[in-house]
């Protein structure tokens, strides 16, 4: 007797469990799908998303980056390479005396931690929204300054610019009293 009883019990459990599972299946068949048809369709990223970097410009078109390499020093993945050059008023890339002659980020190394953004004294490097980074060649993963720089804003001039002497003498924007 106990054998028969046990058999019935098992069968009932099986039926119940299958019904529960199918219930879930049938329910979700009529739900709105969560997937999107990437790449035709793209989802907006969150406010603090960290994607591919951008190099910012000032409104007049001068580059914010002053080639200080602090981002490269902060980078835990050693993904950034900076080589500085010297500005003149005839050939000005950024305010002050120093600019980034070479600026490269190896996106295969980058872990999108955002430390570079934290280290930057001029808010030149920021992690943007772009997450579409795929390469068929390792070398393509190295983003140069030209690829990273934002377009010149309306009303601005492309770099290098010719600027009047004595205007852009400071690399880091003049600081106001922090207690103000």
């Amino acid at each position: 007797m106990p054998d028969v009883l046990r058999g019935v019990k098992i069968a009932a459990t099986a039926v119940r469990e299958v019904a529960r599972g199918l219930n879930m299946t049938f329910r979700s068949m009529f739900e709105k799908p969560v997937t999107i048809s990437y790449p035709e369709e793209k989802r907006p990223v969150r406010a603090r998303f960290r994607g591919r970097h951008d190099l910012n410009r000032y409104e007049n078109g001068l580059e914010k980056c002053i080639g200080c390499a602090l981002c490269a020093a902060a980078c835990p993945a050693d993904a950034i390479f900076v080589e500085a050059g010297e500005n003149t008023d005839e050939q000005r890339f950024s305010p002050g005396e120093r600019y980034a002659r070479v600026y490269e980020i190896n996106m295969l190394r980058c872990i999108f931690c955002g430390y570079c953004e934290d280290a930057c004294p001029t808010e030149a490097i920021v992690l943007g929204d772009n997450y579409e980074l795929s390469f068929t060649d390792r070398r393509n993963a190295i983003y140069t300054k030209e690829m990273l720089l934002k377009p010149v804003p309306a009303g601005g001039q492309p770099t290098p610019q010719t600027t009047p002497p004595g205007v852009y003498t400071r690399s880091v924007p003049a600081m106001n009293n922090p207690s103000d």
Binding site: I66, G67, C68, A69, L70, A72, A73, F81, E83, A84, G85, E86, G96, E97, R98, R101, V102, E104, P121, T122, T169, R170, S171, V172, M175, N176, N177
Partner: protein, 900 residues
């Protein structure tokens, strides 16, 4: 040993030499008092107040002179204010407190003051990362400032002080290190303070700006990024670079360098580096026995030749009259065939091998082996001579210019040290200031005269006699006799003009002062004879090979006669023109007369020398193999050219004029297909049928150590040894991070530490008896017809290793010739014209040459000074010269633009 005093610093008992400064005494026991303006090599100035400490001194009972006791301990009296530890010497029983709240508060305030107008430049500042102001602000400064931000002083940020050094006025903290360095150490007070208080700024008052051979050192000792060098400005951040130990190749001093290198995409100077390692800057590497903490600007900037785009990159072989690129195998094969000619393998009989002092010991040794094996002759390419004497009378091991002071004599003969070996100039000057008696014997006024006790003037050609007179009293007596007014008519004696150093007017009244001048020579000779230690420097001012040889001989005899040989701080130091000429002599190469040597040989193998550039009239061998960095005039005439590696790309060792063997290391990868000199020579040797070691510099050095007695027992490892004793303030262990940080605070620079080797001085041989006997000095042989053209050395010349440096090229200036006003007037040349008059220099048997005339009293009457390597090949004094005025410069320039 000087008197020691006992004191207490932060409850630690300290013993220090009397007169030591508190800051140094504290450093000895590992207590780092922060400093800005103090520098261990400079006189303290007390300008920045960062080093304030509390000082208590025992109260002394006036009646008994004994300390007043209180509770069993001496009673202390603390000053009402803090005192600067960098200006206060230690005294017995002193108690110093460096970490009280009062001291900490003072430091905080000092930093706050310093930062009131300091710009927010750390991200772009070249000092950032190795900046004492950054470090000390973090360690001692306040996190906030009470000053108003908009009341900051804003000053000029881009002030070129000269071609080499740039100033940022905002960053300067007015510590005065740079000004004190130029004034006290370099003896070149060309920069100074202007204005006072917050308006105080650094200015230069020389024309051209910051005109000093030592200017680069100020960028090292500046505790902030106010002074930057044109070479390194914005070049890299300090933490991105690696340091490689090297040795300067530009003169016989052998300054220790550190090259800072990093990977670059776009190399400077148009160098071919694309993602390769490049040199970013050259820094001095501390070696207290050689260059202390300093290097000259040539050493700092001229390395750029090694990365010049005009370097040879592949072997060249002459095909149909043209030099065409070839593979190494083809080139070596072709060269060996040409050198062997008809003779059987291993028998290149008439082969002349020439190597220069630009090569390492290993290269020169291999060259000698090659020449010997092939039955040819090996020569050292040198305009100087006398190197064979140095194995006996050279500077003895343990010689250190820094330990010369009272009781020592330094004699400088025929050398303008400031131009020929700037760091020796600086150290000799300092020895004189410490009390050493400096005797300068030269044919014309030199910069060292200022520091000399005795200045001896001779006529060019009589150098050896003057030296002999210093050691030989009968000859001196004769001189004095000759100088007596009655005998003044003797023309030979009239030439022996000896003038007193200090009164400048003496030069004008030479005739009247002659007896006094002769008496000075006697005095100088006595001082030399009596001195406890004596060092003699001989250079090549106005000398050729044979002249230098006889001067060296006379110096050696003088030293032997006065027993100044074989002891530390005694001996003869040659001021060679190249870094390793001494090595050449030690390894058995001799300077040869190239005219006759080339005449006698049918084939030649010339390495790292440009004899045809220096003298186009030399006879040409029938087959010429050249090994070089550049396509020089000699290389252009070659049948085969091998591209060699620059010293920055390989390792090796040099032997300095003080006979110190020092090792250098590769800093950058080799350019293209270039190979090290020793390897090329060894392979060429193999093609000639000889067995030569060429696998590595270390293997060759091991061979040198077994075969050359002077180098016996030396190994690369021994050359790489360092001791802690050289560190200033005796850092306990320079490898300790804490110690390194404190060294940084002192010197503010990354390259000072010497962890890669101090080098070893070679032992001397016993004196041969021949040298002990005074020999008759050869009489002057220079004929008296016409003007006497003499070669002199100028630090920045048109040499192969200077020209490619864009920075130094602008400092070279135009070709010049030194003329005495009287001679100029005779030739009808207008003195004082601006721009200087151009003259045509006519030398017998030489091409005509035009140069700007430098007409002043510094050139003796009847003499033309011709700078070496400035266009006119002159290797020895040459009589019969004349000058002619030519059209003025503006019209001449127009003329030179026309096709000739």
């Amino acid at each position: 040993m000087s008197k020691q005093v006992n004191l207490t610093i932060d409850n630690q008992a300290v013993t220090a030499a009397e007169g030591a400064l508190i800051v140094d005494a504290a450093k000895k026991v590992g207590i780092n008092i922060p400093v800005f303006c103090y520098h261990p090599k400079l006189e303290p100035a007390g300008m920045c107040r960062m080093c304030l400490v509390e000082i208590g001194r025992p109260v002394i009972d006036r009646a008994t002179g004994a300390p007043v006791m209180e509770g069993g301990k001496p009673k202390l009296q603390f000053g009402p204010k803090l005192e600067t530890s960098c200006t206060t010497p230690v005294s017995e029983g002193m108690v110093v407190i460096t970490n009280s709240e009062k001291v900490k508060a003072a430091r905080k305030d000092v930093v706050e003051f310093l930062l009131t107008s300091h710009p927010l430049d750390c991200p772009v500042c070249d000092k950032g990362g190795e900046c004492p102001l950054q470090n000390l602000t973090l360690a001692h400064g306040p996190a906030t400032s009470r000053f108003l931000f908009n009341e900051k002083n804003h000053n000029a940020k881009h002030v070129p002080l000269g071609d080499l050094i740039y100033l940022d006025r905002e960053r300067c903290i007015q510590c005065g290190r740079c000004v004190r360095f130029q004034e006290k150490i370099a003896g070149d007070p060309v920069i100074g303070f202007y204005n006072r208080g917050r308006q105080m700024e650094i200015v230069t008052f020389s024309e051209p700006g910051f005109d000093s051979y030592f200017s680069g050192n100020t960028t090292d000792i500046c505790p902030v990024g106010a002074l930057t060098s044109a070479d390194f400005r914005f070049g890299a951040r300090p933490w991105e670079m690696k340091a490689t130990a090297s040795i300067c190749t530009h003169c016989a001093v052998g300054c220790n360098l550190a090259f800072n290198v990093r990977r670059e995409v776009g190399g400077k100077n148009g160098s071919p580096s694309k993602g390769g390692i490049v040199i970013k800057r050259a820094l001095p590497r501390q070696n207290e026995a050689v260059n202390e903490l300093w290097i000259c600007d040539k050493g700092r900037f001229a390395y750029q030749y090694s990365e010049s785009p005009t370097r040879l990159a592949t072997p060249l072989v002459r095909k149909d009259g043209e030099l065409t690129p070839a593979s190494w195998d083809v080139a070596l094969e072709y060269a060996a065939e040409g050198l062997l000619g008809e003779s059987k393998p291993g028998q290149a009989k008439d082969l002349l091998v020439i190597g220069s002092g630009r090569l390492a010991n290993e290269d020169l040794f291999t060259l000698r082996k090659l020449a010997e094996g092939a039955g040819g002759q090996a020569a050292l390419y040198s305009q100087s001579g006398g190197g064979d004497l140095l194995a006996q009378v050279g500077a003895a091991p343990g010689t250190n210019l820094a330990s010369l002071g009272k009781g020592s004599v330094i004699l400088v003969v025929a050398s303008d040290l400031h131009e020929e070996a700037p760091i020796w100039f600086l150290r000799v000057k300092q020895a004189a200031e410490r009390g050493a008696t400096l005797i300068v014997a030269a044919g014309r006024p030199t910069r060292l005269d200022r520091y000399a006790k005795y200045v001896i003037r001779y006529a060019y050609g009589e150098e050896a006699q003057i030296v002999a007179a210093l050691g030989d009293s009968p000859r001196r007596a004769e001189l004095v006799e000759a100088a007596k007014p009655a005998a003044a008519a003797k023309p030979a004696a009239a030439a022996k003009l000896v003038e007193a150093a200090k009164p400048a007017a003496a030069a004008k009244t030479v005739e009247a002062a002659k007896p006094a001048a002769a008496a000075r020579l006697v005095e100088a000779a006595e001082a030399f004879g009596k001195a406890e230690n004596a060092l003699v420097f001989f250079g090549s001012d106005g000398l050729g090979q044979s002249g230098a040889q006889s001067v060296a001989q006379a110096c050696a005899q003088l030293l032997a006669a006065t027993r100044h040989v074989g002891r530390p701080n005694n001996g003869l130091i040659p001021v060679w023109g190249r870094a390793n000429e001494q090595g050449g002599w030690e390894l058995g190469l001799k300077a040869a007369n190239l005219q006759t040597a080339l005449q006698a040989s049918t084939t030649a193998y010339i390495v790292a020398a440009d004899p045809y550039g220096d003298d186009p009239s030399l006879p040409a061998p029938s087959f010429l193999v050249v090994q070089e960095l550049f396509l020089t005039e000699t290389a252009r005439r070659a049948d085969v050219v091998f591209p060699a590696q620059a010293f920055t790309e390989r390792d090796g060792s040099f032997t300095s004029g003080e006979r110190r063997v020092q090792r250098y290391y590769p800093a950058t990868p080799a350019l293209a297909d270039c190979r090290p000199d020793y390897a090329i020579s060894a392979e060429l040797g193999q093609h000639l049928g000889l067995k030569l070691e060429g696998r590595s510099a270390a293997a060759i050095f091991a061979q040198i150590a077994t075969e050359i007695p002077a180098y016996k027992g030396l190994t690369y490892r021994r050359l790489a040894e360092t001791t802690n004793a050289t560190a200033i303030g005796a850092a306990k262990d320079p490898r300790d991070a804490e110690e390194r940080r404190c060294a940084d605070l002192y010197y503010s620079g990354a390259g000072y530490e010497n962890t890669q080797g101090l080098g070893v001085q070679l032992p001397l041989q016993t004196l041969s008896p021949a040298l002990s006997k005074p020999a008759a000095a050869p009489a002057a042989q220079l004929s008296k017809t016409g003007l006497l053209a003499v070669p002199v050395t100028q630090l920045y010349d048109l040499g192969q290793t200077v020209l490619p440096s864009a920075l130094l090229r602008q400092r070279i200036g135009e070709a010049w010739v030194g003329v005495n006003p009287a001679d100029a007037a005779e030739a009808g040349i207008e003195a004082g014209a601006a721009p200087a008059a151009i003259v045509q220099v006519v030398l017998p048997g030489k091409p005509e040459w035009r140069a700007a005339a430098r007409i002043d009293e510094r050139t003796p009457r009847g003499v033309l000074l011709i700078p070496r390597s400035m266009g006119l090949p002159l290797n020895a004094p040459l009589p019969g010269a004349s000058i002619r005025p030519v059209v003025r410069r503006d019209s001449q320039e127009a003329a030179s633009q026309q096709p000739a």
